[in-house]
């Protein structure tokens, strides 16, 4: 039921070694790229394949690469965004830990496509093991001559650096990541200029997610039609979904885009963790995406269908909640996260997330006042769309959807000074 393309060799413990990876075809696409393709041909293939950014925004990767100005005399940079920290999302870690050469190869091809000779992978600081795996993979690639000077004797030079973060979710946002990479505090930048024009060290820069880049070698090896056989017309390819929460078999599953959510939750995930408790809500694309209700469980997991349902595919992190979950409690946990991770640059986000956490905490403790829900809605309205980066929007969307879908539960908390549903999940 899974369609393992990126995860093809994920269960082979030797895949982290370059000889095993090469035996499985690693770096073939990289060699083909250097020997047979021009940068614009690589961009065209990725564009035609329709690869969309897997970090959350879903922007077409090839189109993004095409924004790099060819005539610029400045160096061009590629940055692989491995600062995975959106709650619910744990897919990139699997690729970094189990198939690092796929990531290196994808980065190398992307670097060539945009004329970059120094590429970075920004790994979140907490990911110590993935960081070491990537360091080792890159060192092995240098030893084999797949990186460094005159790669494959083609005259192309490419260096690669693994850079670690320091535990800031905001650094997954591309402009904050670039500031962080420059040694500054990871605060977002106003766009324009966009990174493709003025990014790292004020030079043209492309920032792509790990999974996005890992998708590239397959396209070079097998062609656009091969890639498009998977997924839907507008959302081609496979996608790794991180399934967590109240399901029997949580995990990372690679499936074709367009696969119904029910297949992921019930068939792959084994259904609800406790059959005495019913499905209550699903967060479909990482903690920042609006929730879905049980009657939406057959919705196809693709960018368009989720957008039409009022949510987002995001990073593909599906969080399942059963009827033991208090929505005010869940909102408080999520709001605490965004308050903690707000970089503080924009007043609506810095002040608003703190205010939201206080209000939601008050309601959860049974100290809510009449009008609190309306106040929360008003604060959300004053954060949404009023910040430099999307963290403010991310903080607001799950709360807005929680109130929209479960307003009676929020009101009950205020009126009765207690929760109508929550029974503690038993930690055995």
């Amino acid at each position: 039921m899974e369609t393992r393309v990126l995860f093809k060799y994920i269960d082979d413990p030797n895949q982290i070694n370059i000889d095993t990876a090469v035996g499985h075809g690693a770096y073939r696409a990289w060699e083909k790229t250097l020997r047979e393709l021009k940068p614009e041909e690589v961009i065209e293939q990725v564009k035609s394949a329709g690869v969309r950014g897997r970090g959350g925004a879903g922007f077409p990767a090839g189109v993004k690469w095409g924004f790099i100005p060819k005539s610029s005399p400045k160096p061009k940079y590629l940055v692989c965004n491995a600062d995975e920290s959106e709650p619910g999302t744990c897919k990139d870690r699997v690729l970094l830990e189990h198939d690092p050469h796929l990531v290196v190869e994808g980065m190398a091809i992307a670097a060539f496509a945009i004329g970059c000779h120094l590429a970075f992978i920004y790994v979140r600081g907490e990911f110590v093991y993935p960081y070491r795996t990537m360091e080792k993979a890159i060192a092995q690639a240098y030893e084999k001559g797949f990186l460094g000077k005159n790669v494959f004797g083609t005259g192309y030079d490419l260096d690669m650096i693994v850079h670690t973060g320091g535990g800031a979710y905001i650094c997954g946002e591309e402009t904050s990541l670039l500031n962080s990479l420059e040694g500054e505090r990871g605060m977002s930048r106003i766009r324009p200029p966009f990174p493709a024009i003025e990014g790292l060290y004020a030079c043209p820069t492309i920032v792509n997610n790990v999974e996005t880049l890992a998708s590239v070698p397959g396209i070079i090896n097998n062609g656009v039609e091969w890639y498009r056989q998977y997924g839907t017309e507008k959302s081609p390819g496979t996608k790794i979904f991180s399934l967590s929460g109240h399901v029997k078999r949580p995990g990372n599953y690679e499936i074709e885009l367009g696969t119904p959510l029910s297949v992921l939750i019930n068939d792959l995930g084994g259904g609800m963790i406790d059959e005495n408790h019913k499905l209550k809500a699903i967060i479909p694309g990482g903690s920042s995406t609006p929730m879905l209700l049980p009657d939406q469980i057959d919705i196809p997991l693709d960018y368009e269908s989720l957008a039409a349902a009022g949510s987002m595919l995001g990073s593909g992190a599906v969080i399942v909640m059963d009827d033991r979950t208090c929505m005010v409690w869940a909102a408080r946990i999520l709001t605490h996260f965004y308050r903690h991770e707000s970089c503080g640059k924009c007043t609506p986000c810095r002040e608003g997330t703190g205010w939201l956490e206080q209000l939601i905490g008050r309601i959860e403790r049974g100290e809510g006042h009449p009008g609190d829900v309306e106040k929360i809605e008003s604060i959300c309205d004053n954060i949404l769309g009023r910040t430099v980066c999307p963290l403010g929007d991310a903080a607001v969307m799950p709360i807005q959807s929680s109130i929209k879908l479960f307003r009676d539960e929020w009101q009950y908390h205020i009126d009765h000074k207690k929760c109508m549903v929550k029974t503690e999940f038993e930690f055995k």
Partner: protein
């Protein structure tokens, strides 16, 4: 110097790879953190000398990143993820259990200096919840029994 020769060599090596020296700040802080388990003004001073960036800029960056404790911690830094996926599977009860088991509150260190307990935001291990990180290692799919075993093992290694 607090930093060891190895740490200094590593910082210099990393610094040499970047087009701009300032990019080496986070890697340098990481090296210091791995050596000491925390950061301090003395460390900023040493890093400042090595990478030739004013100390204030080192401190400015360091204070932004929550992964680095700014004061000494126990031999084992226990970081429990308490975000949504872990919370749904009992992270709050796990924290209570650890507090009772270690006899400390969140943010405290045991009297023997072995364990410091803190909570952190999502560690990217959502499908293996509940989980915690101790120093640089992940411990996933936790149960009370597993927690007991892990603490015992660490105590016996100390």
């Amino acid at each position: 110097m607090i930093l060891t020769d190895d740490s200094i060599r590593l910082i210099k090596e990393k610094m040499g790879r970047y087009p701009r020296r300032k990019s080496a700040i986070l890697p340098a802080l990481t090296v210091a953190y791995f050596q000491l388990g925390y950061l301090s003004p003395e460390i900023y001073e040493e890093i400042s000398e090595i990478i030739q960036i004013p100390k204030v800029e080192i401190a400015e960056a360091a204070s932004f990143y929550t992964m680095f404790p700014k004061e000494p911690v126990g031999k084992y830094l226990i970081q429990v993820c308490h975000n949504i996926s872990c919370a749904l599977l009992g992270a709050e009860a796990l924290i209570d259990y650890l507090q009772a088991k270690l006899g400390i509150k969140k943010g405290e260190t045991t009297a023997d200096g072995l364990f410091t307990l803190i909570t952190v935001e999502c560690l990217g291990s959502c499908a293996s919840a509940p989980m915690m990180q101790i120093n640089d290692r992940y411990y996933e799919n936790l149960t009370r029994e597993k927690v007991d075993r892990i603490l015992e093992e660490l105590r016996s290694q100390a």
